[in-house]
């Protein structure tokens, strides 16, 4: 099964929509609820990062009987230092974004912790690519 979602930078009122749609599919497929909740955390954090930090992006979801694989590609400022971005507490979120409750610098660590494989790459001033996988 494959799904594709467009994500708009700055559109906080729709943030989480794609994650919630995929979560519903996983529940219908009777995937272990604990695993579904892990995937939901990673999806949401990844979706919100495009909304909060990039201009626009696409989330592609590939699902089979053994695993879910998710790829997000965005156009945006990119990430200068991936290692630093992965550290808990590191955030470049604007005040406006922080006021909505984002910007703790825990999103990427949350993705790492809740997935079996994660790969983050970026070209500064162009965009970011995040790929992660969770086994059922």
């Amino acid at each position: 099964m494959q799904f594709e979602f467009d994500i708009q930078g700055g559109d906080f009122s729709s943030a989480g929509k794609a994650s919630s749609d995929i979560k519903k599919v996983l529940k219908q497929l009777n995937i272990d609820p604990k695993i579904v909740r892990r995937i939901a955390v990673a999806l949401y954090e990844a979706e919100v990062n495009v909304v909060a930090h990039a201009y626009k992006g696409v989330m592609k979801v590939d699902l089979d009987a053994q695993k879910i694989k998710i790829v997000l590609e965005d156009e945006g400022p990119g990430i200068e230092n991936i290692e630093k971005a992965m550290q808990e507490g590191f955030s470049t979120a604007t005040d406006e974004v922080r006021q909505m409750g984002f910007g703790a610098g825990m999103g990427l660590p949350n993705i790492k912790r809740n997935t079996d494989e994660m790969l983050l790459t970026s070209v500064p001033d162009q965009g970011t690519r995040l790929e992660f996988m969770v086994r059922f």
Binding site: F12, A15, S20, A40, V41, Y44, E45, M100, G101, G103
Partner: protein, 120 residues
């Protein structure tokens, strides 16, 4: 005595129910206090109550994805109708507390503790 549901808890602690009136038979397991969404995403567990002063719509998505028992908004902060409509749609209970986060959490903590002690 079994664990109280949200209906009993809401009455006992004087919270006001703003959405999810029909879902108050849920039995909450503990609570988490935070105004940082990714902190809740990372650390809260399903069926917990979430005490927060955030009133942006994103809290509904977080509560839904994490399958939290209820959101408790502190300080009687005004909540937009749009948020409550979305909460109804996504089966999220939103409660309002007239106390700040510290007192709200303290009351809830004692309440859960009292329930634990009365069991033994």
């Amino acid at each position: 005595m079994g664990k109280p549901n949200l209906k009993k808890l809401t009455e006992d602690l004087g919270f006001e129910c703003l959405s999810g009136e029909a879902l108050l038979d849920r039995i909450p397991q503990s609570a988490y206090v935070s105004d940082l969404l990714s902190d809740v995403m990372g650390k809260a567990h399903a069926d917990m109550m979430w005490i927060t002063s955030q009133v942006h719509k994103n809290i509904v998505a977080v509560a839904s994805l994490k399958e939290l028992s209820a959101i408790v908004i502190v300080n009687e902060r005004p909540v937009e109708k749009e948020l409550l409509e979305q909460a109804e749609d996504e089966e999220i209970v939103v409660l309002s507390s007239n106390l700040p986060a510290f007192e709200t959490a303290g009351k809830l903590y004692n309440y859960f503790l009292g329930v634990e002690n009365s069991k033994s």
